[in-house]
Symmetry: C2
Subunit: 663 residues, 2 copies
């Protein structure tokens, strides 16, 4: 879809947005404030704008009178740009908002195909399983070769194989399949992990089916199980689907899952429940995909790969997890051998092997290893900071030669946990926020443009960053008691800001953000930032040495980089150095199906990843305390940010002063 230009007047701020984008989201992206408190649902009627020129599609609204409509007024949230458009925003404050324009528009990255081109260029595109079409010579009176020998000899002549192993289920299929189309067959080969290993023949089909060869990659998250259907011929993702992990009914976090698994029969239940979710995702992927309207045959799925944190992995494999949560916190294993998928209960054919990512420690699991492999960190010379922020936060620093990693006790704030109106990134969650520096009125946008239900992680970061930038909260996250607005109020001795009054919400209550929420976020970001700093320090380096940041996690796809630096979650770096990879666990699972070198190297990389228990690392606590400010006690760590912040604050102060004078 092509982009169009939206020009906002009177500030004359321009922004490129996709054709069909709503005006309010264009304004949000441009840093142009328009009062809006219903999340984009059209009910508050506050986001009135005038379309001065250009084509739009506007839904009619009762909130705008017939006269106003005649004057060109419409609701920004219900107006969608169809070409280059000029939009006039009714000015309610005296501030020159053009100075507050965002330095870089938010990057929209398609992470779905990430990594594929790179591995293709580097010659690493070599799926773990391959289909080959063969026309064998049928046996006759002079040629008594057994079926399997016939096949293996043919392959030996054609390929330089060290040895070949044919599994029993394949042997069982061979006599009938060979004779179905006169010894014209497609064989599925699984490459060995080690170059000295044997290639396995894992399936045989009559005729030529080489065009249909698929893998399924799965990220087993504590909250969500995501899957992708991958075409092993092109490397492309043909379908993606997520379902809540069925284990959620037994507890939200890994600890409660482990506790359930400790009950009699609990482990088996946990395993069956997550496998049921896996099978649900799988069935969806095989039904809804880009190939055709027909279901993909399970026989054409040749591989399934899994990545998950240590607890999720042990529960998936029915491996006793009780010692993960007991001092000294040892997982049972780090490396798992290839497993027959049907042995786990996965609803695929018996020839399918499940590859499971290895773990580093009890709290740096296969999801992180998958991230490190999937994003190519294991191959890069650049000093990389890898951060996976989800239900938990884990960080890895290093490059292809060394790595240090740690789990940070960040808590679930970034997924809405511990926040009074926190929620997951679902419909109705406030995902973006702006504030009028003078009137202190909000502009909120929700996922799905519905009336708000709560605040998601990325919305919370934006909110805290914006409130801090606007001087509404100080560097300790406390509200400026001097600001005069009904939106800031004391409630049960806690100061809060009203994001949306009950009339415009879905929950029949005011939705607010209070100082406890902000404190939770500060502790969470402090834990992550200080975790990174500690790791770097332990290896004699600092944040300045970092050459690239890889930001992962469902969260990572949506967070606004600049805002993340404003609150001090990320170090201040050139945004070009930051790569979003989205769900890196899923990425890693997919990449391990596509490039055999990952399977060859993953155990070595995992062994190389030195795990730090931050709570036992002396320098950590000092780093943590220092990070409990916005952005940090030591603002010199954020020099550019600091300069811009001061500039903006001065502008805002001036505007406020002007407003007072005008009163």
């Amino acid at each position: 879809m092509s982009n169009v230009t939206v020009t906002f007047l009177p500030s004359n701020v321009e922004i490129q947005v996709p054709h069909g984008e709503s005006v309010i989201r264009a304004a949000m992206a441009a840093g142009v404030h328009i009062n809006a408190s219903c999340g984009g649902d059209g009910v508050c009627g506050k986001c009135r704008v005038i379309i001065e020129s250009g084509p739009v599609e506007a839904e009619p609204s009762e909130r705008i009178s017939v006269e106003d409509r005649a004057k060109g007024y419409c609701l920004a949230c219900k107006t969608f740009v169809q070409g280059d458009v000029a939009v006039r925003v009714p000015v309610e404050s005296y501030i020159d908002t053009s100075a507050l324009q965002r330095t870089a528009p938010r990057r929209t990255v398609s992470v779905q195909q990430i990594g594929l081109e790179e591995i293709k260029q580097q010659g690493l595109f070599l799926p773990a399983v391959e289909k080959i079409y063969l026309e064998l010579t049928p046996p006759d009176a002079q040629d008594h070769l057994p079926d399997v020998t016939r096949l293996v000899n043919h392959l030996r002549l054609q390929r330089d194989e060290h040895g070949m192993e044919v599994e029993l289920p394949v042997i069982r299929k061979i006599p009938a399949v060979f004779r179905e189309q006169d010894f014209k067959v497609t064989v599925t080969l699984a490459r060995p992990v080690r170059s000295s290993g044997k290639t396995k023949i894992i399936n045989v089909q009559a005729g030529d089916t080489t065009a249909q060869n698929y893998a399924v990659a799965m990220d087993i998250g504590t909250t969500t199980v995501y899957g992708q259907l991958v075409d092993l011929v092109s490397g492309k993702v043909l379908a993606e689907h997520g379902e809540f992990n069925g284990q959620i009914s037994y507890g939200e976090d890994v600890i409660s899952r482990i506790m359930f698994a400790e009950k009699p029969g609990g482990l088996a239940t946990m395993q069956q429940v997550v496998i049921a979710t896996v099978n649900k995702v799988l069935a969806h992927l095989l039904k809804h995909h880009k190939v055709s309207r027909e279901d993909i045959s399970r026989e054409d799925v040749s591989l399934i790969t899994f990545a998950g944190n240590t607890t999720m992995t042990q529960l998936l494999l029915a491996v006793e997890p009780r010692y993960i949560r007991r001092s000294p916190y040892v997982p049972t294993a780090t490396v798992y051998p290839p497993i027959r998928a049907t042995d786990l209960g996965v609803d695929l054919d018996p020839h399918v092997t499940a590859l499971v990512y290895p773990q580093v420690s009890s709290y740096v699991g296969g999801d992180i290893v998958a991230g490190v492999m999937g994003c190519g960190m294991y191959r890069t010379e650049k000093l990389t900071l890898f951060m996976d922020i989800g239900t938990n936060a884990e960080v890895v620093v290093g490059n292809k030669d060394w790595m240090a990693c740690a789990a940070c006790s960040a808590g679930p704030a970034f997924e809405g946990g511990g926040i009074q109106f926190g929620m997951r990134a679902a419909k109705g969650a406030i995902e973006d926020f702006s504030i009028d520096p003078e009137t202190l009125e909000p502009m909120i946008v929700t996922i799905g443009n519905q009336r708000p239900k709560g605040i998601c992680g990325s919305g919370l970061i934006t909110m805290v960053a914006t409130l801090f930038e606007a001087g509404v909260i100080d560097n300790q996250g406390k509200f400026n008691r001097e600001l005069k607005t009904a939106r800031i109020r004391e409630n049960n001795n806690v100061y809060e800001y009203v994001l949306a009054y009950r009339e415009t919400t879905q929950i029949d209550r005011d939705i607010t953000i209070n100082e406890i929420d902000i404190d939770n976020l500060i502790r969470a970001k402090g834990a992550i930032y200080s975790g990174c700093k500690t790791l770097l320090k332990e290896v004699g380096m600092s944040m300045e040495d970092v050459e690239q940041i890889i930001l992962a996690g469902g969260f990572g796809s949506y967070v606004d980089l600049e805002r993340a630096m404003i609150i001090g979650l990320l170090p201040e770096v050139d945004p070009e150095k930051v790569i979003y990879v989205g769900n890196s666990s899923l990425l890693g699972a997919r990449m391990s199906a596509l490039t055999n070198s990952i399977r060859q190297q993953v155990v070595g990389v995992t062994n190389m990843m030195t795990n730090f228990e931050l709570s036992e690392t002396p320098s950590y606590y000092d780093n943590y305390i220092a990070a409990l400010f916005l952005p940090h006690t030591d603002v010199h760590q954020f020099p550019k940010l600091q300069a811009r912040l001061e500039e903006r604050r001065a502008l805002i102060a001036k505007a406020r002063a002007g407003a007072k004078n005008a009163d």
Copy 2:
């Protein structure tokens, strides 16, 4: 048990027999004829002898009058020697039987431990699975190693392992087992087949269980499934048991089994039925053994090995066998990978791998390969002739550098098939036979010393050899029409010899051997002998080049070497060059559990075994026709035999002449 000497008078023939042997069996072994037609049951009362000196235990018999008992008469079949004994046989003929004494007493070989000492001496005693006791250091606050890593690292330090793989079921057991006896554990290691392969950890147990490590070896015969329980620490056989293959109800031979397997559901039935037999044998082995009165724990069984012919192997593994019996007679596979025993339905723990011997062709199967490996033929420089004679007959010639093999269409005569009173070697089967050269009265001994029911294979060979030697039949197997005895008669135009009249049998009929039976045996032995000759000729060698003969098959243990040469089943060689190995398939199954070099080399050896389809080998037919005589058309192939035969015939003729003169 010590041997004693029995001296038979008046011929003054001595023989060594085990303490407690019956006088009639001692006489049979010594070549001393005593009329006896009830098989040793004591009912015919013919085998009257006088104990002249020495201790015996004699069961009282109504067949001997009080007066005769007072004179020292007793029944040879019910009198057991308790020391050196002199026995007088009432002389009924004028022949000097001392001249007919057997050249070499039958060798009694204990085949149970065969091969063990040899592989121990050669340093090849290295079981495929091994238990090791370890005292690991438990984890603590400074040592967070995962359980499995802790184990693998400990083993790496202790042993020079290339790599180690821990299977999922073991990983699942580890957390609890490690903590049961404070990280003191026994691990079971499975050695890799290839030296570059990974050692697998297949089981872990709390405490020290290294003394209990067992394998089960199984021969899957068309007729019988034999199993042995093997101690992997000492290498000794702790139990042996056989059961009829449950598939017998679906057909006696492999062809009828294949035909049944072709019916819908038939293959699954065939597989389940043989596995049921396997489990029956297994349960017996674990219950009745030399270790103790308690059942052996299934957890201490670390391995099961199988050997069987091609059809039995494919049915055991549920691999479609229909093309074995259809031109061009191809088996599905020759080599099978290691298989989880529980996947086959074998009632062992999931950590147990089943090793299955590879096949050469549709009719030279894993039982023959097992024989070649088990008896060490694959390691010897000596040109060896390996013959496995059972339901079918297969022959292999060669040594460690080359081998040629073939299946001979011998038919089941050696197991009693196609013989009117033929039966398997079970109680009541006539297993030994002698004839009075003058009176032509028989001496028969049956298995179990019961009244006769029929004739088993080894009995048949002895019978035909003896009748030929005594001039009762000629070199074409036809009865001498001039001999005057009621025992030789014409019945429905076929000449026969009465072995036992109905009064002394269990079947209420006369038991006879007729010319059709003899012809069947001649065809069977001719097929085998000419098969060997053809193989040798194809590789430019002859019978004279053979340096040793390995005689295998359930049958092989009982057959009398000299008699086998008399009928021309075996080439004429020094009996010292013949080694009996009994059930070589079972031997091979056992040896593959005890020496890893068999597993490493078996596929190479199998590939080296050049299979000849005798029916397609031009020289075979001529060889076969030439072998349809006793011993052969070309008696110069049996020079010593020929000389002795002439000498004996002359004696017999003299005796008969003397008898006539005396009349």
